[in-house]
Symmetry: C2
Subunit: 227 residues, 2 copies
């Protein structure tokens, strides 16, 4: 199956544009760049140590997703309204219920066991918000990859990132509970059960987030300007 030589081509030189894309995406997902924050090309390029051209390429790549570009008016970190968040969750529910169902249905014994272990690890090591998020993300990325639907998986992960940056790690109890159920359905190869758990979990998460937003709507987050 696997080739004799499995060089992952580690540490291949990233282009300036790729590096900038990763850096900006990471900054947005980790909350260092907050929704609505202006992204001035000259300033960002200077901070990253590159010229404006590859920076613009990176921004174009993130446009419509994590970044909003409005012609000559400039660009900002995309800010989501309540309506948009509800819609994104609706799309996630439709896609993820299908995807998890397909994934669980096609799992081999070995793969199911692997996912089971991954899920337990994930719930055991509860670290800070950011690494917790990326750990959960990695689990779902792995799970959904078994659905053999690369485009759907990509869409889902994208939507997840889009909405995930608004969370403040409030849903830990829900998550642990949902993951326990999900593990059972994975071992039982129960696609419908898994889909139900995922939908219920998404709805809970969504409601948590909306409640938090309604509560904090009069306390807008402010970016701490870099020196």
């Amino acid at each position: 199956m696997s080739p004799a030589l499995n060089l992952t081509w580690s540490a291949k030189p990233l282009s300036a544009e790729e590096a900038a894309t990763v850096a900006i995406r990471d900054a947005i997902l980790s909350g260092r760049l907050v929704p609505g924050q202006r992204l001035a090309q000259a300033e960002l390029a200077a901070q990253l140590g590159i010229s404006r051209i590859p920076l613009r390429d990176a921004l174009r790549r993130l446009d419509g997703d994590l970044v909003t570009i409005d012609g000559r008016r400039g660009c900002w970190v995309t800010s989501l309204e309540v309506d948009e968040i509800e819609e994104l969750y609706e799309i996630r529910i439709v896609l993820e219920s299908r995807c998890v169902s397909l994934a669980v249905a096609g799992l081999s014994d070995q793969e199911a066991l692997h996912l089971f272990g991954l899920s337990e690890q994930m719930d055991l090591m509860q670290s800070d918000a950011h690494s917790g998020y990326s750990t959960r993300r990695a689990f779902y990325a792995e799970l959904y990859s078994h659905a053999n639907r690369p485009r759907m998986r990509g869409l889902i992960l994208q939507l997840r990132d889009n909405v995930g940056r608004y969370h403040v790690l409030k849903d830990v109890r829900h998550s642990v509970d949902a993951h326990e159920q999900l593990r059972r359905h994975i071992m039982d190869r129960n696609p419908d059960g898994a889909a139900e758990v995922v939908v219920a979990h998404l709805e809970e998460t969504r409601d948590d987030l909306l409640a938090t937003m309604a509560q904090d709507e009069h306390v807008p987050t402010l970016a701490t300007e870099g020196s």
Copy 2:
């Protein structure tokens, strides 16, 4: 509902990047640029009468969708395999069935009548493949806008374009029939019926396309090079 003054800000000056984006997208959707065709930056920029910078911005914007960029190896018109087309249709089915259901459920009498007329017009004037496609696209864009799900609508139209450029106008009978049924469900405000029609229509269209591709797989289309 509609504002008293409805200035559409017509004929605002497009930037070179926007113009290039529209031009390239249109060329791909109309088939002048075929899947797999190389997109050389210098050549394209010269043809469009702009420099490489705004052209690159346009290509980055279409990347991952209609265009595939592979680092320094260059970029091509995205070419879809059979598996990918099947997957895109699967996503369309999931999203569009939900979207049409929501749209039909919320239709006012006036809106339903308007869509009815639009649909009839669409079936009456059957012109060439390209304008036929864009007419149908406009109808669904209008229909889905009534679902009040802008992101979902955008995704659907994007998926539609992605897969639509492979069609060769073979599904006219199916379409006319499906549209007739859809009109009835629109007038009856029958969301479930409309969703069923859309799903069935998508499945038929998908199977038509796959059959055509299986038939023509040994006759690869070749681009007619511009002078």
